[in-house]
Symmetry: C2
Subunit: 211 residues, 2 copies
DNA sequence: ATCGCGAACGGACTTCGGTCCGGTTCATGG
DNA sequence: CCATGAACCGGACCGAAGTCCGTTCGCGAT
């Protein structure tokens, strides 16, 4: 039990970003602004990369140089939008922020994430549809570490890595979209379901035998 | 508590498939064979739809007419490969098949699914990377109903729909790929984690309060 | 102020998934 | 055996993602 924390291949090395050139910074801002605008006015799925480049007054090559691919751009736009969410987690008031017991924080986290999904579903779908590259992204890693820490505090006797994956897997954009749209489950039901999930995972008897 | 089973928009109507024309059937077989061959010999990701059409000696239009899109083709190929898995679930020996207690069947199901993921990861990644169209597919629905039934039997006092999503969410191709490749978790650890997940979800105290 | 270099730029180009539509083929009724 | 129309075929075509590479330009050094 309790397998070691695996840091298998590459741990997140500090990247000393050689300082960004002035025009590069300008273009990055332009691109993000253009993307945000177009996403808002005609929908994420209806917006091509060419259109964003044009709207930003920038070549396509520049766009891809800075953001790599469509999913990463979506992620970057999203990142701007919920930077506040990011540090509500770290420095905000309880129960989302520090100060509340870990279980309560996990529940609050789920609720906040579900609201976020409801709010930015298109963007999140786009960002997560790169066949798992999303799971390697920096924003996801941050969420993962956050949850993992809480899990470890609340339930030191389980495989925290795995449990974290389960909890975050339940807050995935495609799953959420399906629950919400195809099955018509409403937001409150999902919140209740998640809260119950946390409860059950965190309060279950230790290593229950077969049933 | 216990929200009603939602059958929101369209329930699966029986489609009386007007009988398939001879040439159509022949081409479908050719395409599946070609796809399987190319996937095997040069990898799923490296195989374009054009290449499959060419290998099958068939026009591109035909390919897309029969399978709709890339993900669906992957799913069809997969379906051929694990038809046996499908009915091991329904008619095979316990604990996978009927006869064992639901909890045991859920654990066996997870183990089998993980083996399946290990075996056909590329194919499954491809099939599931259609931004959630996979979740509407027939094979997925079958798995979902299977798990849902077991959940309901093992734990009649919870939101079975939601719990089912959680259990299947933990067996998703992108998550599996990330656990396996990026984090280097081995298969046994995942199996243990899933079994423990089932245990915790099914044996947790009823409606535990806050902690 | 000038120079030189490497990073940044941008748009033509390639690739590939997916659609369209005119021509062909299969199955059925006469 | 033939007429007929529905279903099917195939490849030209399209739009969008992502790459390439010759050109430009910011910026530290002289």
């Amino acid at each position: 039990m309790l397998p070691p924390v695996s840091t298998p291949i590459e741990l997140p090395v500090y990247q000393p970003h050689p300082p960004e050139r002035a025009d590069a910074a300008r273009n990055r801002r332009r691109i993000l602004a253009a993307a945000e605008r177009l996403f808002a006015e005609r929908g994420v799925a209806q917006t091509s990369m060419d259109a964003i480049a044009a709207e930003a007054g920038v070549g396509k090559g520049t766009l891809f140089r800075r953001f790599g691919d469509r999913a990463s751009l979506a992620l970057a736009v999203l990142d701007e939008k919920d930077r506040q969410f990011q540090d509500a987690l770290l420095h905000g008031p309880p129960p989302l922020g520090p100060g509340a017991p870990p279980c309560a924080r996990l529940r609050a986290f789920g609720e906040a994430m579900l609201d976020r999904l409801e709010e930015n579903l298109d963007l999140l779908l786009d960002a997560q549809t790169a066949a798992g590259n999303y799971l390697r992204s920096e924003p996801y890693s941050a969420l993962w570490l956050h949850v993992r820490l809480l899990v470890q505090q609340a339930r030191p006797d389980c495989d925290a890595d795995y449990t974290t994956d389960v909890l975050l897997g339940a807050l995935t954009a495609p799953v959420f979209a399906h629950q919400r749209k195809a099955r018509g489950m409403d937001l409150d039901r999902l919140k209740a379901g998640y809260a119950d999930l946390v409860d059950r995972l965190m309060t279950a008897p230790i290593r229950a035998g077969v049933s």
